[in-house]
Symmetry: C2
Subunit: 326 residues, 2 copies
């Protein structure tokens, strides 16, 4: 059987994760990285080919699935519809509120060009969404809770780094253990934003900066920190580099529901990830397998994790799956 030929559009942490994930799946091969930078300046982890994203069109017949690894704020709304003209694509678009609009744009272009697209894959949106859907379908009477962390939020870390006097900064979202245990007690508590998560900031200040001012500015930032109990810790650059050089993340989806005559039932799903981008990449890669199979069956347009029967994700045949994994 021919291997699934993977392209990577955009070479940041997620792109590197995809590059590494391809190595773990022997039914796939990497065509190369497509970058907006000058290709000769990009050093890849595995030494794979690097091409200019501007010349992607030339490789239309060489790539079965293009995995787009840009950011959701500005890259993907532009790049995904554009690349869906040329390729079957996968992205990890994660701005929840704008998913319907992004879906419509990508669906139209993909159908016009006879391509198949899968958007908003990863773990949230993605695996967490799947767990919300399964759990709410099974237990229609109940309440769903999502907790994130402990893990690095890129958006909040970026926000810290924009504060005057901050040289380096990172932010961890931390789920509140008491709140999770209240959910597990099946009392279906109402939890405010503040009760569910705290925010932990680690900052390297510029020489001579006003630390009290930095702390006050961070804690008051609208939409980022003002609704949370936030701690700001100042540390040396050495400590920062030694301790805060990873991108762990994770979280919990819980559904507390009732059946029959007030019988309590609890479903919980959790992830504990040493590397958020490597894990997200692993999800994207296994949906690339599903995409290539569904495309071979003639599917076009845009799909999400909700539309993909689980069997499409596995290397095993339906017979093997029933015998070994059911």
């Amino acid at each position: 059987m021919n291997k699934i030929r993977i392209g990577i559009a955009g070479y940041g942490n997620l792109g590197k994760g995809v590059e590494l994930a391809v190595r773990q799946n022997d039914d796939m091969e990497l065509v190369g990285v497509f970058t907006r930078r000058e290709p000769s300046t990009v050093k890849t982890v595995t030494g794979c080919n690097v091409y200019s994203l501007n010349e992607a069109e030339k490789y239309q017949n060489d790539v079965d699935v293009m995995i787009i690894c840009g950011g959701s704020a500005t890259d993907l709304p532009e790049q995904t519809p554009e690349l869906a003209k040329l390729f079957n694509i996968i992205d990890s678009f994660d701005t929840h509120a704008r998913i319907p609009e992004h879906f419509a744009n990508v669906d139209r272009v993909a159908k016009e060009n006879n391509h198949l697209a899968m958007i908003s894959l990863g773990w949230d949106p993605g695996l967490f969404s799947l767990n919300r859907l399964y759990a709410e379908s099974i237990l229609p009477d109940g309440k769903t809770y999502t907790f994130w962390g402990k893990g690095v939020s890129q958006g909040h870390s970026d926000a810290i780094r924009r504060v005057d006097g901050v040289k380096r900064g990172i932010q961890y979202t931390v789920p509140v253990e008491d709140a999770m245990n209240a959910v597990r007690s099946e009392s279906m508590p109402e939890l405010s934003t503040r009760q569910k998560h705290t925010r932990e900031c680690w900052v390297v200040a510029e020489d001579g900066a006003d630390l009290a001012k930095i702390e006050e500015t961070i804690k008051g930032m609208k939409n980022y920190f003002d609704e949370y109990d936030t701690t700001v810790n100042f540390i040396s650059e050495e400590e920062f580099d030694a301790v805060h050089n990873k991108m762990p993340h994770g979280g919990f989806v819980m559904r507390s529901g009732v059946t029959g005559e007030n019988t309590h039932q609890m479903i919980e799903y959790s992830l504990k990830l040493e590397s958020n981008p490597e894990f997200t990449a692993s999800v994207l890669i296994c949906y690339a397998r599903a995409l290539s199979r569904l495309r071979a069956e003639g599917a076009t347009g845009c799909k999400t994790a909700f539309d993909i029967a689980p069997a499409y994700l596995s290397k095993l045949s339906p017979e093997e799956l029933r015998a070994k994994m059911l």
Copy 2:
């Protein structure tokens, strides 16, 4: 839109659970219970209709999905292929080793009769199987662990009750906390049967029975208890009735895997169920929704949870799902 018309074949604990679950889903209605007993002797929880299973054929046009609630040992291997001649069916066949054979039998009959069948639904097989599949597809390098409990095992409880001198008996399967924590530490331990679960028995003895003999007999039972650390507790009938009158269960599916350069990633799924049959019934009912939609699209033959795209399970439309749950 017409409601999905549900029939229940077999009225034990699972059948009662389905009867109650239909009430929680306003897109469904219950046609009635089909029983091997004399219908007039069966009192249902909700007072629904009761028919003789022998006359099921008369109701072919009244039932969209027949949910077969018999046992896997002897009922389902016979009943499911037989009823798949007359109806679209769902069962919870859970003898893992015999699933391929059962699938082949049901698939053949369903196709011949233009029906759609879904087998081996519930939580294991079912939701646990789905989690094994998703997790192993995403993290190809790793190890999967399934723990069951704390919960009542019907098979083991039945085995206790066959021992001479035992008047009442129930058995709880208990996952070993240390073993689960070893898995969560991501050291990927090799765990023996004895290390993963213990078995807790609660027994009411006949008057004058030899308690030491009962305990010894239970602990030595091949395939049931001999490979486990088992405790046998003798209690009064009053205590038994007061404390051990429920059917709780649950368990854990964990996948410990690595990505990139030995980066640890952990996926965990767990259920904590006050009533195993009511929860299993809730899973069957939401696959009945999927079945009725897939049948309307023309699907026939046999399917499992692996073959069903998650969106089919939800009452929400694809647009609503993307907007609210992704």
